[in-house]
């Protein structure tokens, strides 16, 4: 394993064994994360982005199961670690922020109690020290008068403040990896801007690696330096943020970029939706999962799953169009460099 990498996911496969059959939620996903790096995983619901994060945290619930591949965290495989060992990693070294701050805090404990629990669980500190640490964390995430706030219950906090408290809790043990699963989806734009600024600041100060899972391309453009685009349980395209936005190679990425309205482009553009809906992962397509909705689909796309084609050192896409024998396709995605 590369020493620089904090996390390596190798050919991960996760399935849910439901009563109607095996839902293949992740069908072979590999990626690396460097120390101090922020990557974004984007995709629509059912693309497998949340299941990827749950697999890394080993929080998959029955009937979900990792059926293949490996996850290396700090050069150690965590796929077969016991639940007890996992508990010392979870929260301590890998922390997670969930989408809905309203339901992921316990309503019958004070905010302070919940942060202190995370601290005393993983660190050898007494109650006084834990309390001071909790106050300090609330201060870092920008909650006013933290020494009073620590005794309040979640219902006394607003949505944005609850998400801040969640971040304070996640960062209280200074984890080396933070997984944020749609951290701002439930929040208003003004509060979202506050939280994103906070995450960027914390990344700089604590040097935490971040995996940001979202469906909002604007959010990843802001926080992440590398982007993974997922669809149908597979990584469709991976590259630096600039490459993905200005030089997308996969028709799905292009489709995503074209279907969002742009404020800076004025009104005269018409949105170009991606027709159809995502594949059923009970019976995943044999070929490329996007073939049924792809405007450039060829015969081979339905029969064979394309391999990854590297178009640049840090840019790979799973698409037959990049094969040397394929017809060349020029697409205007509206996102171009240097017009501000």
């Amino acid at each position: 394993m590369n020493k620089e990498n904090i996390l390596e996911v190798k050919n991960l496969r996760t399935s849910f064994f439901t009563h109607v059959g095996e839902v293949k939620a992740i069908r072979g996903v590999s990626f690396n994360l460097k120390k101090g790096e922020a990557i974004g995983i984007v995709g629509e619901s059912g693309s497998g982005k949340s299941v990827t994060s749950m697999s890394i945290m080993k929080l998959l619930q029955h009937p979900g199961k990792i059926i293949g591949g490996d996850i290396l965290f700090k050069e150690k495989s965590i796929v077969n670690t016991s639940e007890k060992e996992m508990q010392s990693i979870r929260g301590n070294e890998i922390a997670m922020i969930f989408q809905d701050p309203m339901t992921s805090l316990n309503p019958v404990y004070t905010i302070g109690n919940q942060i202190k629990e995370a601290i005393t669980r993983h660190q050898n500190v007494n109650r006084e020290e834990a309390k001071n640490k909790a106050i300090e964390m609330l201060k870092i995430v920008g909650i006013p008068s933290p020494s009073d706030r620590i005794n309040q219950y979640p219902h006394e906090f607003s949505g944005g403040m609850r998400q801040r408290a969640m971040i304070a809790m996640a960062l209280s043990c200074e984890p080396s990896l933070l997984i944020a699963d749609e951290p701002t989806t439930a929040l208003d734009v003004t509060i979202q801007a506050q939280i994103l600024e906070l995450m960027k600041k914390l990344k700089k100060e604590i040097n935490t690696s971040i995996i940001m899972i979202t469906h909002d391309l604007g959010v990843v453009a802001d926080v992440c330096s590398r982007i993974i685009v997922m669809y149908g349980g597979l990584i469709m395209e991976e590259g630096t943020t600039e490459e993905i936005f200005y030089n997308p190679k996969h028709p799905y990425t292009m489709g995503l970029l074209k279907s969002i309205p742009r404020l800076d482009l004025g009104e005269n553009q018409r949105l170009v939706p991606i027709e159809g809906s995502p594949p059923d992962l009970l019976k995943p397509p044999i070929g490329c999962p996007f073939a049924a909705r792809c405007p450039y689909a060829m015969k081979i796309c339905e029969k064979n799953q394309p391999p990854y084609f590297e178009t640049d050192k840090n840019h790979r896409s799973m698409c037959w169009l990049l094969h040397e024998d394929a017809p060349k396709v020029e697409v205007d995605t509206c996102v171009k460099r240097g017009k501000i």
Binding site: M161, V189, R262, L263, L271, P273
Partner: protein
């Protein structure tokens, strides 16, 4: 504000307060001032967008317009008649003219009814069609929203989110309305599906000459679909104008902050722009700040702002904002 013949709906000083029971012995009741003195008009065939943060009263405004709530005060003039004080019986003809599309496509369809029954119910209630004729109308509506007539015998759980929202739209269209209130119709949908639904809404508007009130918190989508946009904050409209004008030249500090907070899917722009970060949260609508309601979060707040509430001022033709800076 200018009044011409083609104004379909005009709202004057609309207020909607919700009473909150306080204390065991009744005592003094407090009110949540969800909509507090809102005035605007919508012309026939146009789309008015209504944006703002959660709790600003945009959904309450929509629900009061369709008379799901009884307004506390003010007038709702639809096609020349005030519908704000009408009783249920008098409202029946207006229920046919005004329809609504809801945010949550999972909660707004009855799980025990087939799609055909859901869409056909309105036809029964308003005695528009029965029997074979009704089936034909339902099939026609389904193909209009991009579904197949065979879907009429299926149940809501068999459909995806985008398809369910299409069913919600077909249901709203069943009674041939003139005016549709779209309350966050796309916020529960995936990005690639959002564009499908929005394009369909604008095609339907062209074909059927519909008028929309489009309520959303996604400012970029609102600009895309609306002719004019109103920005709400704590129960008040702080700025309203043609969408091009409002987005290019936002006048109110709140609109400016709101626009600068939108994540832009373009890394170069993100790196180079200045963001106006608003501190804190929206104050409680039970005890809104005195004077200008935005002053507690406004970077330009002056002593004057706390004393008297600024009135709406016309900055350019059809562009109004309420702020002392102007």
């Amino acid at each position: 504000m200018n009044k011409s013949k083609d104004v379909l709906l005009e709202v004057r000083n609309l207020k909607k307060y919700f009473a909150m029971k306080k204390g065991f012995f009744g005592g003094n009741t407090q009110y949540v001032k969800a909509v507090d003195d809102v005035s605007f008009y919508i012309k026939r065939g146009e789309t008015l967008g209504l944006v703002g943060e959660s709790g600003c009263g945009k959904s309450t405004t929509g629900r009061t317009l369709i008379r799901l709530y009884r307004p506390t005060d003010g007038e709702i003039i639809y096609g020349g008649k005030d519908i704000s004080k009408m009783d249920d019986k008098e409202l029946i003809p207006y229920r046919k003219k005004i329809q609504m599309i809801f945010q949550d496509p999972y909660a707004s369809l009855n799980t025990r009814m087939t799609i055909g029954d859901i869409i056909g119910e309105a036809l029964d209630i308003h005695k528009i069609a029965t029997g074979k004729e009704k089936t034909e109308i339902v099939h026609d509506l389904l193909s209009r929203v991009g579904l197949s007539p065979d879907h009429a015998i299926r149940y809501p759980h068999e459909f995806s989110g985008g398809q369910r929202q299409r069913i919600g739209i077909a249901r709203a269209l069943a009674v041939k309305p003139e005016f549709i209130i779209c309350d966050e119709p796309i916020s529960a949908l995936d990005v690639s599906i959002q564009a499908q639904v929005v394009n369909m809404l604008s095609d339907l508007q062209q074909e059927l000459g519909l008028t929309y009130l489009f309520i959303a918190h996604d400012l970029s989508m609102v600009r895309y679909i609306s002719d004019r946009v109103g920005v709400m904050y704590l129960g008040k409209i702080v700025e309203i104008g043609e969408s091009e004008e409002l987005y290019e030249h936002p006048a109110h500090p709140y609109t400016q902050a709101l626009l600068s907070a939108i994540p832009v899917p373009d890394p170069d722009i993100v790196k180079n722009r200045k963001r106006i970060l608003l501190e804190g949260d929206v104050p409680s609508p039970i005890n809104p700040p005195s004077g200008c309601r935005f002053r507690t979060r406004c970077m330009h707040a002056m002593p004057k702002c706390a004393e008297i509430e600024p009135v709406m001022k016309e900055i350019s033709s059809g562009h109004y904002a309420a702020c002392y800076l102007l």
